[in-house]
């Protein structure tokens, strides 16, 4: 992925010089080992700040909804980030011709310790971008070491009581900082349900019941829209296993509605459509 860095810089410079885009959103050098940070380049002279390496973990699509007033935006996006962009296009949050997607075939990003490829990347179902404007590299799929076990299947094999104990322990870690929600490109609501005070849906502090409802509802709101980019998991300072919820929902959406989020900008998200023959057996 490091070879792509120069190509990205060249492309960014070209786009900015020709005034094709108002801003390039990409990755810059981080202040900590194994980290990069989002950067926003408006001056073609600054493109050398752009980097691309195996620590480019953030999903930069989260900035698209915030910065769309700047004009056309170019964005460096991994295939999973492109899924988020596609979902945003499906939901009319950004227009297809207002974003220039610079993407590439991805070999996975490393976790914060810099050791192995992040588990999210090991189970990634898409390593080439579904759409793009500029493709860096040959776009051929890069084989990745798959995860040794399926976390959803493993969790499902436990008894309900065991699962409940694990969930309680995970929720106890949560400090309700909302880093997960804010890092997610699909959480773009101007007022989140947790901020509503009339009526007040859940309390502010870290009580188990409130925290659990927050995570369940957030996962449900992302159902059919979640591109499995792992931004929420990586953003969490306490290491809450959010993947259990999102992976389970994505699995159900695929199995029941035969759809995966963020692959076709012309299709509606799974929960915004229906099939007359949808699974009905669970209803009396």
């Amino acid at each position: 992925m490091k070879d792509y860095q120069n190509e990205i810089r060249k492309k960014a410079e070209e786009l900015l010089k020709n005034k094709d885009v108002a801003m390039v959103i990409g990755y810059g050098a981080g202040s900590l080992p194994h980290r990069t940070t989002p950067i926003f380049i408006e001056d073609p002279q600054n493109v050398d700040k752009l980097v691309l390496n195996e620590y480019c973990a953030n999903n930069l699509a989260v900035y698209l909804t915030k910065l769309k007033d700047k004009g056309k935006l170019a964005i460096v996006a991994k295939p999973c980030d492109v899924r988020a962009i596609v979902s945003l296009i499906q939901e009319k949050q950004i227009e297809r011709d207002k974003v220039h997607i610079i993407s590439f075939a991805c070999s996975g990003v490393k976790d914060k310790d810099g050791a192995a490829v992040h588990p999210i990347c090991s189970s990634c179902g898409i390593s080439i971008p579904p759409i793009y404007d500029t493709l860096i590299g040959d776009g051929k799929e890069i084989k990745r070491e798959k995860e040794s076990s399926d976390p959803v299947a493993e969790f499902s094999s436990k008894t309900p009581e065991e699962r409940w104990e694990i969930i309680k322990a995970e929720m106890a870690k949560c400090i309700r900082c909302y880093a997960c929600r804010n890092a997610c490109p699909m959480c773009y609501c101007e007022e989140c349900f947790v901020e509503r005070t009339l009526p007040r849906w859940i309390g502010e502090g870290a009580e188990l019941s409130d925290t659990l409802i927050f995570h369940i509802v957030r996962a449900l709101h992302a159902a059919g829209r979640c591109g499995e980019c792992g931004a929420c998991v990586r953003a969490c300072p306490m290491g809450v296993n959010l993947r259990l919820l999102t992976a389970k929902i994505n699995e159900d959406v695929l199995r029941l509605f035969e759809q995966r989020a963020g692959l076709d900008p012309d299709k509606p998200p799974a929960l915004a459509t229906f099939n007359i023959e949808d699974y009905n057996d669970f209803i009396k």
């Binding site: 959803v152 969790f155 499902s156 309900p160 009581e161 065991e162 699962r163 409940w164 104990e165 694990i166 969930i167 349900f193 849906w201 309390g203 009580e207 019941s209 409130d210 659990l212 409802i213 369940i216 509802v217 996962a219 449900l220 159902a223 259990l244 919820l245 389970k248 929902i249 159900d252 959406v253 029941l256 509605f257 799974a270 929960l271 915004a272 229906f274 099939n275 007359i276 949808d278 699974y279 009905n280 669970f282 209803i283 009396k284």
Partner: protein, 181 residues
Amino acid sequence: MEKKETRKQSQGFEPKIVAFLCNWCSYAGADLAGIGRYQYPPNIRVIRVPCSGRVDPLYILKALQNGADGVLVSGCHPGDCHFIEGNYFARRKFVILKNLLEFLGFEEGRVQFSWVSAAEGERFSQVVKEVTESVRKLGPARRMVKTLDIPEDILKDLEQRKNEPEFAAGSSSQLKGEAGV
């Protein structure tokens, strides 16, 4: 499981079930059950919604948080929705919610769904009977409940009326003093 059943029955555990009924079909069906004098357990508390598609999973979770032992959501049969498609969208939402809750360790049967039409008075009473019995077997819902958690001694203390007029003028306790209470 057997032991639990007997204990609950002898203690007379009466589950509280919140039922979201769509105005055009299920609520009318419930009404018809009443008109037709079809008996069903009084454990359900009905909340009328314009369409089953209106029911946000958040409401179902909130009901569980506030102490509901079970939640029933009932709407028009697919194809008969007063708003044409509302129940189709609802069907997708609900299957995801139900699967997720059971995945997280909630007991199967806490949250149930049905399609009941306006003509199905007797059927409505049947559905409610089934739902109530299955929730009764599960016992009180404890997973998501949030209580005020007031310690027993403080709770008792709070019950007693204030005697000292600590509040500003116009306090009710002062008036009570005058009345000799």
